[in-house]
């Protein structure tokens, strides 16, 4: 699972939808892999508008990376390539292959197995 995906997945329980603790899900026991792929600056620019930056910072910190700035970088056509590359690397090339995502509101644990998160609730939570 890419970190971009971690930035749009939240707790599936409707009860948690209004809770500020439900997003981002807390990541633990994570195994990380870097999967290189081609960069598309237009996509980075476009998707950055939808990225919740503080949540991304929190997620990367939980994975032991403290390098992201607290403020969301503004992307323009003239922005330097290095910035695009680092965002591409964080959002699209960093993958969680195994791990857990825990809702800070209800405590549901969503497992990530072979890179695929299981976002199903149990019957009692529906």
């Amino acid at each position: 699972m890419k970190l971009l995906t971690a930035n749009f997945l939240t707790c599936a329980s409707k009860k948690c939808s209004s809770s500020p603790d439900a997003f981002p899900l807390n990541i633990s026991d994570a195994k990380i892999a870097i999967q290189e792929c081609e960069m598309n600056p237009e996509f980075i620019k476009n998707v950055m508008l939808r990225v919740e930056w503080p949540a991304l910072v929190k997620t990367t910190q939980q994975l032991g990376n403290n390098t992201l700035p607290m403020e969301k970088p503004e992307l323009t056509d003239e922005s330097d390539e290095l910035l695009f590359k680092s965002l591409h690397n964080v959002l699209l090339e960093t993958e969680i292959t195994e791990g857990k995502m825990t809702c800070g509101s209800c405590g549901h644990v969503y497992p990530i197995v072979e890179g695929i998160p299981n976002m199903l609730l149990s019957e009692t939570e529906v």
Binding site: T5, A12, N40, L121, S122, V126
Partner: protein
């Protein structure tokens, strides 16, 4: 505006105009139709050659686009027309390398017959060198031999400008795909699904019933970044190292694939503020795979199944297609960007089909409804557009009709048992 000819495939005619209009929007190339009969050749007006090439380059149904010089009811009359034409537009290319080709519809021409036709065009005075491999100019005779055709025009003389993307149909052929399942969607219409979603670079497209991923590949092929989910994780994961990821690698689409995850459309884990550019899906409607959702605990108790739930995979319950489609349009209305598209396949029984089977939502506008017909049922590709939020008044969200949309109990009808 200039006159051009579009040569269409003979498959899925109901989808040709919706595709062309969608391409016109994607590429920002306006066109207007001068003549469109049942034959595969449409005469259209387009701004210039470059726009014409752009309009068809990603088309699945359009085989080629040509600048039209002349057309007539017979080949002989075409010759008369061209001989008397003033000025002669092809003379612009009379010094360039060229080749001459014949595309005959409804009849196969042998090499000898083709040469015979070509030799009749000697009066054109083409002085450039003939190059079969890389000509700068391809003069083409299009012939329509179909007897049923209601078009009076049977022969066209034109210059080929470009081709569509029909070769992608072979690329995504299921027979060549490493990982497929019983619900894998055929190549040509998978590509059209992606087309109708306006899948393209910098966009995010989501398939909430992803199965073995058929639409992810075609949407990513057009450059969109794709996400898929399914309530059944086994299909996405695959077996013995064949999986959706394996197919993504086969098609070399890693740079435009995001992720798949296990989830239930009625409890979607995508946060509401993350808007999608398009949603595409072929919902399971019970013929090859039934729709399921997580059973709510109340329903389980009603089922007298009160044993404590310890197993990790939740119990699922049957999910009627009309409920599913309603949930899906509600979901799309919330989650699509303005002018984003919802593209879904809906099965209908031919005899009973009525327009009420098409789901409605005040925030979604139905753009196209194209059918692929089978014996007693059809499947329809519905394309909706999310109306700009600024223009939609928030009221009467539900449809006030007695009729349950989307063929209540389709499965029973499909298998021939009339519903109770």
């Amino acid at each position: 505006m200039k006159c051009y000819i579009l040569h269409f495939s003979s498959t899925h005619k109901d989808f040709h105009l919706p595709e062309l209009e969608t391409l016109s929007k994607i590429e920002n190339v306006p066109f207007s139709i001068t003549e469109r009969s049942s034959n595969p050749f449409w005469i259209v007006q387009i701004e210039d050659d470059e726009s014409a090439r752009k309009l068809v380059k990603r088309s699945i149904f359009c085989k080629g686009v040509y600048e039209l010089y002349g057309c007539s009811d017979t080949l002989d009359n075409l010759h008369e027309l061209l001989k008397n034409m003033q000025p002669k537009p092809w003379e612009l290319y009379s010094q360039t390398t060229y080749k001459f080709s014949i595309e005959s519809y409804g009849k196969h021409l042998t090499m000898e017959e083709q040469l015979n036709v070509i030799n009749q065009f000697g009066y054109l005075h083409l002085n450039g060198k003939v190059s079969m491999k890389s000509p700068d100019c391809i003069f083409t005779v299009l012939e329509d031999n179909e007897k049923k055709s209601d078009s009076k025009v049977k022969a066209y003389f034109c210059r080929k400008l470009g081709v569509g993307s029909r070769d992608a149909i072979d690329k995504f052929d299921l027979k060549q795909r490493r990982y497929i399942g019983i619900t894998s969607f055929e190549s040509e219409l998978s590509l059209v699904t992606a087309q109708m979603a306006m899948a393209g670079p910098a966009k995010v497209v989501y398939d909430p019933f992803v199965g073995t991923g058929s639409f992810l590949y075609t949407c990513s092929f057009f450059g969109a970044h794709t996400i898929g989910s399914d309530i059944d994780g086994r299909q996405m994961r695959g077996k013995n190292s064949v999986s959706i990821r394996e197919n993504i690698a086969q098609y070399n689409l890693q740079s435009s694939f995001l992720d798949v995850f296990t989830s239930d459309i009625t409890h979607c884990p995508i946060r509401e503020s993350f808007l999608l550019d398009a949603i595409v899906c072929d919902p399971p409607y019970g013929v090859r795979a039934g729709a399921k959702r997580i059973a709510s605990i109340q329903n389980i108790i009603k089922d007298k199944d009160t044993k404590p739930i310890l197993h990790r995979y939740p119990k699922l319950e049957h999910y009627e297609i009309c409920d599913l489609v309603k949930d899906l349009v509600d979901f799309a209305a919330k989650r699509l960007v303005d002018e984003g598209r919802l593209v879904l396949w809906l099965p209908t029984i031919t005899e009973e089909y009525s327009i009420d089977d098409i789901p409605k939502h005040p925030a979604l506008r139905l753009l196209y409804n194209s059918a692929q017909h089978f014996n007693h049922w059809s499947r329809r590709l519905l394309t909706f557009e999310r109306l700009p939020r600024a223009t939609v008044v928030k009221n009467n969200i539900t449809q006030n009709s007695e009729h349950l949309p989307a063929h209540y109990k389709f499965r029973e009808k499909y298998f021939g048992n009339s519903p109770q």
